[in-house]
């Protein structure tokens, strides 16, 4: 596709349920990022995938959070046993790592609401 695609765009779930968020990066982008943005707040780094290297998981807030990426394509962020504080917009971004600017291209985000 032309841009980074995220699904679902909105997800309402009950506390304790598991959720899965999907990100389709721009074709050819080797780097993929997940960020969390709470209402009115900044972007909190969660995880970063770079090609076939081991992902940088240093931003994952707890072991309830995990993410996978298949090669240089789709990524899935999974949140187990959701809590109300997990409510936020989850933003995915991708980038080239050999381009002139290394700019991050963001998707529209997945808005998660935990009741």
């Amino acid at each position: 596709g032309a841009g980074v695609s995220q699904s679902p765009s909105n997800k309402v779930t009950e506390k304790g349920k598991d959720v899965e968020l999907r990100c389709d990066p721009i074709s050819g982008h080797t780097a993929l990022y997940w960020y969390r943005q709470r209402l009115g707040q900044g972007l909190e780094f969660l995880i970063y995938f770079q090609g076939n290297s081991a992902p940088d998981k240093s931003g994952l807030p707890s072991d309830r959070f995990s993410a996978e990426r298949t090669g240089e394509s789709v990524s899935t962020l999974t949140i187990q046993r959701t809590q109300q504080e997990d409510s936020a917009v989850y933003l995915c971004a991708s980038s080239w790592t050999s381009g002139p600017t290394g700019e991050l291209f963001f998707g529209e985000g997945s808005r998660l609401t935990v009741l």
Binding site: A31, Y33, Y35, Q41, G42, L43, E44, F45, Y48, Q50, D56, S58, L91, A93, S95, T97, T101, G102, E103, L104, F105, F106, G107, E108, G109
Partner: protein, 112 residues
């Protein structure tokens, strides 16, 4: 861990006034990027600075990277209502790694 702070957190200006946001890192950065996020939207890339002391201009926007590569600023001359949004800086620690830590953001409102 690495922190990137921005000041001010909020800024209201009259249309036509200038605006500046400052970005400060606790550690030296390899490079810094700036993004703009419109209300309800996602961050959109504005520019990247790499060299110590670098200054870049985009029309009414001037970006600067500090000599020590620990701070940066974005200055907007003669703001317009289209400048409304939140401005984020994002820093990378090491060349060759592309893990970007975003600043806390400055929310700009422009009053017509």
């Amino acid at each position: 861990g690495q922190q990137v702070m921005q000041i001010p957190q909020y800024q209201h200006v009259q249309e036509g006034e200038d605006f500046t946001t400052y970005c400060n890192s606790s550690t030296t950065l390899s490079n810094i990027q700036w993004y703009k996020q419109r209300p309800g939207g996602h961050p959109v890339f504005l520019i990247q600075l790499v060299k110590s002391g670098e200054v870049k201009k985009q029309k009414r926007l001037t970006f600067q990277f500090g000599e020590a590569k620990k701070n940066s600023s974005l200055h907007i001359t003669a703001t317009q209502t289209t400048d409304v949004g939140t401005y984020f800086c994002a820093g990378s620690l090491r060349a060759g790694t592309y893990k970007y830590i975003f600043g806390t953001g400055t929310r700009l409102k422009v009053l017509a």
